[in-house]
């Protein structure tokens, strides 16, 4: 089963769209589609299909130069439609003649057409859709690249994007067969599941192909906010936090002028041998590998001194040298990245932060943790850093006492501004930063119904043993436990649940856990898929049962991906991670924080 099939399909679909407008044309892209598009098809592909010039759609840009045919490739948002309508109108009024096509990604939305209609440009455009849904970032990783799903669904209760998720699953199954065993964890996942069934039911296409994926988990992000709030410790996760990995591409250039040169850009996938070795390692274990590798490369270089004949020399130059040069370049980039990460860490109170996190996770020394956070707020360390710790505190404490909540909130507002009143509201609504009920709110306070979400951290931790008892014993160089991704401090709940359900072969014994997670629902068509004991799974009847899709609704972190990769090795199964976006604590919180845009 090759995830690149998805890519091929997307390419064909896009090609059709581009060819539908013959000859050369210009393409105007939504900014957030450039990276996915570059990754899926690449600029060259666009040129090959007659795209003359590429533009990024910008607000307030009245006209665009270019040829007589234009395609807009955009997300179906109301604001975008207005921008486009404005452009078209002003171009028409200035007498430019052009044909316009608006391609909505991933699908047409009635509201958009309505807006174009009311703006009076409907007659000038043709509308189409391009179902860019899941696309592969790696051989075991698929993404929708829809980070806004998190806030739109979990915060604003807008189910629009769930449709996209469900549709992505329908299309995935059309390609790889209907997945027989499905588990959903959380409310949103169940909705996606129902929607998916509904959609595949009504679809005319009844062609059933043999399933290549045996099991699937759909997991709500709000089931576990702990892992995105913890400081990542694996290399890949740290890179993402420090540099931001966008659609699998990292830009090591930190000069900040935004003009990424090819020299500082690197595609991070399992194709890269060095990267595969280090991506999921604990950070403390990366540098040693890199330096060993550097020595190895040096040794290979030195080989040229021993070459005697011209033929050998020629051979070396032709084949190995290029390879070596390439590897050396990558190695240099990673070493530079490591150094930069270390420097960044030194600037902050890294050790204290980690220690505080670990205390909070273990539920000890709460007083000290609170002091540390408070001091951070007072010293005005970056807002998101403080907020992250505060959130983690609330989650692990299952809400702050009313007194503490108010004190922290006051301090935060005084320090970072009054607009964060809304930020706190949002976090409360999400159940990330909450006030303990009962003692807290006077009974007369009218709470919006959404506020019923509550962390069940302690219960889940105790039940599933998420915080390993002896942290000391974890060998970060050769870890035996998933929790190594957080230096042994925590095992991400979603990963643990996946493991537990796979091993148990049923939900029996997980009823309470299910309740605490917003409900686990299962549909099991193929039974007896027991994985048995670790590495001893001989009794699997159907080999596709060893192919497991884990779909995160609302995003997942590279730490969690690393954890799932670890589990897949541990049990000798294939885990494919699909997600609506790859997130870090900062990107997640950033969406929730109210910005004073003045």
């Amino acid at each position: 089963m090759d995830l690149q099939e998805l890519n091929k399909l997307l390419k064909t679909q896009l090609a059709h769209l581009l060819i539908s407008i013959p000859d050369s044309k210009d393409l105007v892209l939504d900014a957030d589609l450039t990276k996915p598009l570059d990754r899926v098809v690449g600029i060259k592909f666009l040129k090959e299909h007659g795209v003359e010039k590429l533009y990024i759609l910008e607000r307030g840009q009245k006209t665009l130069p270019g040829c007589g045919k234009r395609i807009y490739l955009v997300r179906p948002s109301m604001v975008t439609m207005k921008y486009i309508a404005d452009q078209i109108k002003s171009e028409i009024s200035s007498g430019e003649k052009r044909s316009y096509k608006i391609v909505l990604v991933p699908r047409k939305i009635h509201v958009c057409e309505k807006i174009l209609e009311s703006e009076g440009v409907m007659g000038h455009v043709s509308i189409d859709e391009f179902p860019l849904e899941l696309f592969p970032l790696d051989k075991d990783l698929l993404s929708l690249e829809l980070p806004e799903l998190f806030t739109s669904f979990f915060l604003d209760n807008d189910t629009t994007l769930l449709h996209t998720v469900a549709s992505s699953l329908v299309n995935l199954q059309r390609l790889f067969g209907k997945i027989p065993n499905i588990f959903t964890i959380g409310k949103g996942s169940k909705m996606v599941y129902d929607l998916m069934n509904y959609m595949s039911e009504k679809s005319e296409d009844k062609k059933e192909s043999k399933h290549q994926i045996g099991q699937m988990f759909i997991i709500d992000r709000d089931v576990d906010y702990v892992s995105p709030m913890c400081t990542p410790m694996t290399y890949e996760a740290l890179l993402d936090e420090t540099y931001k990995i966008e659609c699998g591409v990292i830009n090591f250039d930190t000069s900040g002028d935004g003009k990424a040169t090819a020299a500082s850009k690197l595609l991070l996938t399992s194709q890269d041998e060095i990267y595969t070795q280090i991506r999921d390692r604990h950070f403390s274990n990366v540098f040693s590998y890199l330096s060993a590798k550097a020595k190895e490369l040096q040794a290979l270089y030195n080989k040229k001194n021993n070459l005697t004949t011209v033929g050998e020399m020629k051979e070396f130059v032709a084949k190995e040298l290029r390879q070596l040069k390439h590897q050396q370049k990558i190695l240099e980039m990673h070493i530079g990245g490591c150094e930069h990460i270390m420097k960044t860490k030194e600037k902050t109170d890294f050790e204290e932060t980690i220690k505080t996190e670990q205390c909070m996770l273990a539920g000890v020394e709460t007083k000290e943790s609170m002091t540390f956070i408070e001091e951070g707020i007072q010293k005005q360390i970056p807002l998101l850093q403080s907020l992250r710790l505060l959130c983690l505190l609330s989650i692990t404490q299952e809400g702050l006492s009313s007194k503490d909540y108010k004190a922290f909130k006051t301090a935060f507002l005084h320090s970072h501004g009054f607009e964060h009143l809304v930020t706190f509201f949002n976090l409360k609504k999400l159940g990330i930063l909450t006030e303990q009920e009962g003692i807290a709110a006077s009974p007369r306070v009218l709470l919006p119904p959404a506020f019923s979400r509550k962390s069940s951290y302690r219960f889940l931790n105790q039940k599933l043993n998420l915080v390993p008892k002896q942290t000391e014993d974890i060998d970060l160089r050769d870890p035996k436990d998933v929790s190594y991704i957080f230096s042994g401090a925590y095992t991400p709940l979603p990963c643990k649940l996946v493991e537990q359900i796979l091993v148990r072969d049923s939900l029996i014994g997980l009823e309470d856990v299910g309740k605490a997670c917003g409900g686990i629902h299962s549909e099991i068509k193929v039974k007896n898929r027991s994985l048995g004991t670790v590495r001893g799974a001989q009794n699997i009847v159907d080999p596709t049962m060893k192919v497991v899709l884990v779909y995160f609704l609302g995003g997942c972190t590279f730490s969690e991906i690393a954890a799932l990769r670890f589990i897949s090795k541990q049990y000798d199964i294939r885990i494919i991670v699909a997600t609506t976006a790859i997130i870090t604590s900062y990107t997640l919180l950033d969406k929730v924080v109210e910005r004073n845009n003045r």
């Binding site: 109301m78 604003d156 629009t160 420097k343 507002l413 320090s415 009054f418 607009e419």
Partner: protein
């Protein structure tokens, strides 16, 4: 003898055979009717105009009856519109009436009115003389000739576009005859004017054609175009039949009938022979001047078909056709064709005669040809017993072939089974195999549906294994639409009957059926039917159309497709905003979706919505967000006051107090701005204090501290960093010596270092408590000293901390520190 009824015509044979004995026998005299018959075995329409036949002058309107090809009455009606000029059938078995005023009325075969259209203003104004219905490439066309002898035509009655053809020069009386021919895919009119022919087209061009006629043959008074429009037959005043191509370029023959009477009908039998009808006499003329004559017992009507001619009489329905080559090969007396031999062999085999073997040996090498001939001949054979014998022969021959592919045989068996079914007089579609091939199976199924023979159609589909989406489902959907039209049935019962039959059928669109019901004004039935529609995207628009707003919204929400929800929401909002808010109140999903929409369109509306919902908290939040978009401080303060009231309303005193403080803060900031001329806008409290301190405005900072009850410690931290930033080292030092300072000395060091002043920082080192010594030394960059201190205090933890921080140290120092590490172990 198979060839008994064969009549030779030149090198071909023709056969006339009965297809049906008519059900109308004894009841109908076609001589008294105007007849119109649909091709491909279609129904027969009879028009009886009493006013013409009765001796007494009556004003009675004509009666129209439709019969199946087997003479079974389908329906009857009395005409109540204008004067009918021409009656005829379209290619999709619609009955067309063309009135004097050029209006065309379209009925189905059960005489249900479907639609109407006109043939243009001129036709309407000056009336038409004659009209022709012809098959075109687009469908069915109609051409009319007005009283001013101009011809107008449309190529497709489904989307009539009337065009005028070129005028014929010097035509000042009605032409003796005219017709429509398809040349170069375009319909043109062929008009006879005396001995001349004119071909006129839509481009305004006319061509004067002179057919190669013998002298003194007289004016052309009748003409006929063959089924495929390639050949033409003309009849002249002197009784001459001229046969040639329809472009008049080629003449095949001239045949003298010696009749000065023009025939009642001049038609083609297939594309191979011309047939003239004089009362009860039928003369068949071949292109080589060969001829056959048939004497009929009663008046008949002739219908041109693709491969023959239907002869409809009072008692029987006959078919005249050329014997297909393959049939001839097998049945012609003395034929030595492989097929003929195989047929014989098979017959002998059944008689258990050893001759069978001899015959087979004779054609051993051409057995495959023989089998194919038998299969083909079976197809053309109308008689099932002979079909069976031919197929048996084919099957017999097949046994001797090892690698013969059975598809042709199987397909033929299936086709024949279907053909025999539809030929049965109860169905009454006398299709030949050739006609079926041309018509195609889907069209045949459509025709069964048109005849409301749903059961048979479904059975045929299932028998032929046609996918449900094209076959069974489609037919059942038609059936349901038909059911819906039956107004006598109880709606509840009807909905149930329909759903029972259709519920498991994939691909049936209940919404289509429902919209059919709606069109017929049966709203309740439509609503009931819609309930069975599984696709919300089909259901919702129709519900909206019916004004079932609540139901539409609920269905849209249930579908989980927010796009659909938006469709309903926006539609409803446009309709009436008052009811709208009431309606969505109880639907949280609809509500939150609408809020999302408003948030992008009109934030103020969101506040109203929250207000309506009594969600004061969110309302307050919206006001706060909006306040930041206002420029004027007082306006903002006012909006924040509103927000505060919202919070008070939901009894959230804490938030109200926060908001109150904020109002106070922005007013203070405003005052500061006017006083100092410096901007403090949008700074948090802490940053305002900080800025004040940096600017040396300590009094004001103190005042703020009191006003906003800033805790000591927080104030101090702010102050330490602010003083360090402003470089006021003296004040900083003074501050550090305050008794009972709420912050530790390490904060001072940190503040100095943050402003890169290690000299100042070091001044505080002596006052650092021992447990923080190492950290502070590291902070000021004294790694060596830190290491020594760590060794002194025997703290491994401290030493590790130093090591972890060595990254920013000089290399040399770092090495020195690393070298010190063993000492720790020794001291221990």
């Amino acid at each position: 003898m198979a060839t008994a009824d064969w009549n030779p015509l030149g090198e071909f044979y023709y056969r006339k055979a009965e297809v049906y004995s008519m059900e109308w026998s004894g009841l109908v005299d076609i001589a008294k009717h105007t007849v119109a018959v649909s091709t491909y075995g279609g129904p027969i329409a009879l028009l009886k105009d009493e006013s013409k036949t009765s001796r007494v002058a009556t004003v009675a309107k004509p009666v129209i009856s439709v019969y199946s090809a087997a003479g079974k009455l389908q329906n009857q009606m009395r005409w109540n519109s204008g004067n009918i000029i021409t009656m005829g059938w379209s290619g999709t078995e619609e009955l067309l009436f063309i009135q004097e005023d050029g209006v065309v009325l379209v009925y189905d075969m059960f005489l249900t009115f479907k639609r109407t259209f006109g043939m243009g203003q001129e036709a309407k104004d000056i009336k038409i003389l004659e009209a022709k219905i012809f098959p075109s490439y687009q469908g069915t066309g109609i051409a009319v000739m007005t009283t001013s002898f101009r011809i107008f035509l449309t190529s497709n009655i489904d989307s009539p576009r009337i065009v005028r053809l070129a005028e014929i020069p010097g035509l000042n009386e009605a032409p003796a005859c005219w017709t429509v021919v398809l040349l170069d895919r375009q319909p043109r009119a062929l008009v006879a004017k005396g001995e001349e022919l004119f071909l006129v087209d839509q481009g305004g061009q006319y061509q004067n054609q002179r057919p190669d006629l013998s002298e003194n043959s007289g004016a052309i008074i009748a003409m006929a175009v063959s089924f495929n429009s390639k050949f033409l037959a003309l009849f002249t005043q002197q009784g001459l039949i001229w046969i040639g191509t329809s472009d008049i370029q080629k003449k095949y023959c001239e045949f003298n009938t010696k009749s000065f009477q023009p025939p009642q009908q001049l038609v083609w039998c297939g594309n191979g022979a011309v047939v003239g009808l004089w009362d009860k006499l039928i003369v068949v003329v071949g292109p080589d001047k060969d001829w056959i004559r048939y004497n009929m017992d009663s008046p008949v009507y002739l219908v041109q078909e693709e491969d023959g001619l239907r002869i409809i009489g009072n008692d029987s329905h006959e078919f005249l056709h050329k014997i297909p080559a393959v049939t001839e090969q097998i049945f012609k007396i003395g034929s030595m064709e492989p097929g003929a031999v195989l047929y014989e062999a098979s017959k002998e085999f059944q008689k258990q005669n050893q001759k069978a073997d001899e015959y087979i040996r004779m054609i051993k090498d051409k057995l495959d040809v023989a089998v194919n001939q038998c299969i083909q001949a079976a197809g053309h054979e109308p008689e099932p017993t002979i079909q069976r014998m031919l197929l048996r022969a084919a099957s017999f021959g097949k046994c001797f072939l090892t690698d013969y592919r059975p598809e042709a045989f199987v397909n033929m068996c299936m086709m024949l089974r279907v053909l025999n079914q539809v030929r049965h007089h109860s169905v009454g579609i006398p299709l030949t195999f050739t006609q079926l091939e041309h018509l195609s199976m889907p069209v045949l199924i459509d025709r069964l549906v048109l005849r409301k023979m749903f059961g048979l159609a479904v059975k045929i589909c299932q028998y032929l294994k046609i996918p449900d989406s094209e076959g069974r489902s489609r037919i059942l959907a038609h059936w349901a639409c038909f059911k819906v039209q039956q107004k006598s049935e109880d709606e509840e019962k009807l909905a149930r009957t329909i759903s029972q039959k259709l519920v498991d059928v994939p691909g049936v669109s209940f919404s289509e059926i429902a919209s059919q019901a709606l069109e017929l004004g049966r709203k309740q039935l439509a609503i009931k039917l819609l309930d069975y529609e599984p696709r919300a995207s089909e259901q919702v628009p129709l519900l909206l159309k019916m004004g079932q707003d609540q139901a539409a919204l609920t269905k849209a929400i249930d579908s989980g497709d927010t796009d659909l929800v938006y469709t309903v929401l926006l539609r409803l909002r446009d309709k009436s905003s008052q009811d709208f808010f009431m309606m969505i109140r109880g639907m949280p999903i609809a509500c939150s979706l609408f809020i999302q929409y408003c948030r992008q369109q009109n934030i103020k509306l969101v506040e109203d919505l929250y207000y309506q919902e009594d969600n004061s908290w969110e309302e307050g939040n919206c006001k706060i967000i909006r306040s930041y978009s206002l420029d004027d401080v007082e306006e903002r303060a006012k909006l924040l006051e509103d927000a505060m009231n919202c919070f008070l309303r939901c009894k959230n005193d804490f938030l109200a107090k926060q908001t109150e403080e904020q109002i106070k803060l922005i007013r203070y900031q405003r005052k500061l701005e006017t006083d100092t001329g410096r901007s403090y806008a949008d700074q948090s409290l802490q940053k305002t204090l900080y800025q004040l301190t940096v600017e040396g405005n300590h009094n004001m900072a103190e005042k703020f501290k009191k006003e906003f009850k800033v805790p000591d410690r927080r104030f101090w931290i702010m102050k330490v960093y602010a003083l360090a930033e402003s470089g006021d080292w003296i004040e900083l030092d003074k501050l550090s010596r305050t008794k009972k300072a709420p912050v530790g000395i390490e904060t001072f060091i940190d503040a100095c270092m943050k402003n890169k002043n290690s000299l100042e920082a070091k001044k505080y080192l002596s006052r650092v408590p021992p447990e923080l010594k190492v950290k502070c030394l590291v902070r000021v960059g004294l790694f060596r000293e830190a290491a020594e201190a760590a060794i002194e205090s025997k703290s491994e933890e401290d030493f590790d901390y130093i090591l972890s921080r060595l990254g920013s140290a000089e290399r040399q120092v770092a090495d020195q520190v690393r070298a010190l590490r063993p000492q720790l172990a020794i001291r221990k």
